[in-house]
């Protein structure tokens, strides 16, 4: 075991984000030798037996933890969610119409890319009210190819409590910022995709869970690298896959499994979010722009009476060991991202700090 030379801080960054310490320990050993192979995890051929076993375990754990049936393929791709904004319509839109729910910056970006490949119908939007809520009614299109939504909005701090209802085509979700934070009924989806760097691992790998029949219907006149069907046929190795990142993701899935699976994560996340939102609701010193029923359990967005106080809090919190609390550069304010790997002590510690800060500055 590596001895920590520097005390670890509580990291509230929105992503890349905190990872479980146990995963870091395992990874640090695997850097020098994956198991007893005498070759580090970054150095193994992606086609050799030891790494093929890592990839198989990552897939098996994803299937077990998320409850993914054999009707679906599990892929580990590159390019982040932003590349899926392109790949999804490139494969599936083919000049047709898709329904998109517009609930924040990331859905806006996904919409922008989809328009290159067909018609986008904005089924619902929270844009006029600065994305402070999740729309509950939607206007879907008969004959649409798919229905796309962003399950959690990191920047605005809103989150879908369940799937949007009434969709007329397969649901496609960008679940980058709440993947594996709670149980999910995969059978309700056509595609679930998520950049790993919030709840699953390092930046540089994207989990894509896709219904096989949908993948088969994908466009064939696009680069092979971008065809889901080709990636399924090649088990994520059309070209060299991001081997190290996939290893870390497999260790995170194993950690989720050891800690009660998705139900365990949900209980853990609800408890953490409650502590923080209770503090925010306890006085007018704290302001939360988000509709109460749509509050994100992953990214807790809040404001203080003035920007000066916000800056002061960030500075003092950082000094006290609570890092990454600055809101997204596009909206300002404060944001505490409390993904799966944020321990409860991090949140209770932050709340104690906030109470003290309020007492001094309120």
């Amino acid at each position: 075991m590596t001895t920590l030379q520097v005390p670890r801080k509580f990291n509230f960054s929105a992503g890349p984000a905190v990872l479980p310490l146990e995963v870091l320990q395992e990874t640090s050993e695997a850097l020098f030798s994956l198991g007893k192979t005498g070759i580090g995890v970054m150095e193994h051929s992606h086609r050799g037996k030891p790494f093929v076993a890592v990839l198989a375990e990552a897939e098996a754990l994803a299937r077990e933890v998320m409850g993914i049936s054999s009707d679906y393929a599990v892929l580990f791709l590159q390019g982040g969610a932003s590349q899926q904004f392109i790949q999804v319509p490139m494969n599936l839109l083919q000049g047709g119409t898709a329904d998109y729910l517009e609930t924040g910056v990331w859905s806006e970006k996904a919409i922008k890319e989809a328009k290159r490949y067909g018609t986008v119908n904005i089924a619902s939007t929270s844009k006029a009210e600065n994305h402070t809520f999740i729309p509950k009614t939607h206007k879907f299109t008969a004959g649409s190819k798919f229905t796309h939504f962003t399950s959690n909005n990191t920047i605005f701090g809103t989150q879908f409590r369940g799937e949007p209802t009434g969709a007329l085509s397969p649901l496609v979700v960008d679940a980058s910022s709440d993947i594996c934070s709670k149980p999910i009924d995969v059978s309700k989806y056509g595609i679930i995709y998520a950049g790993a760097q919030k709840n699953l691992g390092p930046a540089g790998v994207t989990l894509v869970v896709i219904r096989k029949d949908l993948a088969e219907q994908g466009a064939k006149d696009i680069p092979q690298l971008f065809q889901y069907g080709e990636q399924i046929k090649n088990e994520s190795c059309y070209n060299t896959c991001p081997t190290f990142s996939i290893y870390v993701v497999s260790r995170v899935f194993a950690w989720i499994k050891r800690n009660g699976g998705l139900a365990g994560m949900a209980a853990h996340n609800e408890a953490k979010a409650k502590v923080l939102y209770d503090c925010l609701d306890s006085s007018d010193f704290w302001k939360t722009p988000v509709a109460k029923e749509d509050r994100s359990l992953m990214n807790v967005v809040f404001r203080l009476p003035s920007e000066e106080l916000e800056e002061k809090l960030i500075k003092e919190a950082t000094a006290a060991g609570f890092d990454g609390l600055k809101g997204h550069r596009s909206v300002g304010g404060l944001r505490a991202s409390i993904y799966n790997a944020m321990p409860k002590e991090g949140v209770t510690g932050l709340v104690s700090f906030m109470k003290e800060f309020e007492a001094k500055n309120g």
Copy 2:
């Protein structure tokens, strides 16, 4: 420092490939805390100061080690060289003609993708002779958009000794398997790209060195993520960049710098390759399909009198601690990949083993 629990093997894998032990040591410490930040390198926001400094250092070291002027941008992208097979013509071909030198499987793949975006002229090819040599004369096209070649062919074991001469348009090179193995005159190129997983770091990040004026001429009607100009404007962070992989690449560049830079690497690589080729040339027991003047200093491809003996050698070599010697599945035989990070002892040890094997089985 982490104590190694398992003795390390000599790893002759073609990629992902061996990394310097010092880089693994640095990385294992950074996993828990990048410098004194108390937050691990995988966990830092790509927009936070500590990681922004990592990215800046990676770029500065790349510029220093490779001698890259300010006329060029240095990008760290995702998707591997295979995505560059697409991105290069997607940006630059625009319905025009490009010259491609066909010297192996990877150039064939690049050619296949380029045809989606314009006309490909095969300026020269070694295909009819199973890519056992590097063509010395080429038929270039007046008015072509760019001239693409693969500087080293991992599968067939051939390598360009210098740039192809007489090209009529900017040179674009897939240098994935010999990047930074020897000095390079960057000013001769329009684009140099390389998947990191041979000489630069882990799979999952691609170095792209591109002349800025060429990037500016790139297509604007393609997804922003794929536009070189957008990636330059966003300093590789149009979306979350592969932060961990970039960190490792920066450590590898620092290691190259400490070890004599590219001239030091060249001397080291020439000495290693000589030891191995001298052994192969010493008797008829060993067969090398490649034209002598075009032999790769990175991937040494050879055969034995029978496939049974080849299998036997691989098995016994693996048991003796020399791993990854199996040739590419498409061509069979043996291949010793001896990238920058392979120590000379690995090669001299392998040659001693080979001499013994020959004495017993020759």
